[in-house]
């Protein structure tokens, strides 16, 4: 059961470095043939400085490479196998490119218990602000995490 006292908690800023190889791995796992992600020249022709990150790339900064997601679960007392993603929202403020050093500032916005047809669940809303090495905010995210009980 998610620890309700953590609502409003600041989870501590951390950094994540964007690499072209990880963009490539993600795009290959999705199976997206879009040339802007595969070929820097194609991206530059379309007005990007370099290969842009695909829309869901930031999920990498939340996962095991950074330990963030596991830290969140640990902080909230949610077992990994009981966790599910309910909603995900991205607000794009600027492009993210290979070599960027992102600063991620996550916060627990709320924790709510909900009764559903499949039993009670805890709904945890996380918000993050993502800025690059130039201090420019490039992304805001909102994630709804579900704990199945």
């Amino acid at each position: 059961m998610a620890d309700k006292t953590k609502a409003g908690a600041d989870l501590g800023a951390y950094t994540f470095e964007v690499s072209w190889v990880k963009i490539r791995e993600l795009i290959q796992a999705i199976g997206d043939p879009n040339p802007i992600y595969h070929n820097k020249e194609a991206a530059v022709t379309e007005g990007y400085h370099d290969t842009p990150c695909p829309p869901t790339f930031i999920t990498l900064a939340f996962q095991e490479f950074t330990g963030f997601f596991l830290k969140v679960l640990d902080t909230l007392g949610i077992p990994l196998v009981k966790s599910l993603q309910g909603e995900e929202e991205y607000e794009y403020l600027g492009e993210i490119y290979p070599g960027d050093l992102l600063t991620i500032e996550p916060r627990v916005e709320s924790i709510v218990e909900k009764k559903t047809r499949s039993g009670p669940m805890d709904l945890v809303t996380l918000r993050t602000r993502v800025s690059n090495q130039h201090g420019v905010e490039v992304l805001r995210t909102r994630s709804l995490l579900i704990e199945r009980k």
Partner: protein
Amino acid sequence: MKGPTMSSYVDFHSLEPDDALPPLKKEPVTKTQLVRYAGASGDFNPIHTDDATAKESGLPGVIAQGILIMGFVGQAITAWAPKRFLRNFKVRLTNMTFPGDSITVEATVAQKTRSSEGLLILCDTSAKDQEGEIKLSGHFELLVPD
């Protein structure tokens, strides 16, 4: 399968609310793809890669990472419009996706408004499987510069 080229993007100026965008039909999801996505994304939750663990936690077997399906929608959006037009993208994951499911991503124009920076296009989107079950639904907003 070929990727989009600049000339293949949708002409949003000519679209009106309720107009549908061309659906993106994905190949069936494979277990290998889930392992690949786990490695790429760093989401190593074993319910996505190990049937035994998935079953122990009450699932019929491994399920796809929800954000992989969101990634399919991201693929569709950035085939319909240049990625840099994308301002907002939100999904609600409603049903689990299993290996073998064939996902189709659809979208319709919900709103078309003018802003000082260009045309704001709000689209409703969903990802469905071969049975028509909705795996996720949501919306995205594009700013199409003049």
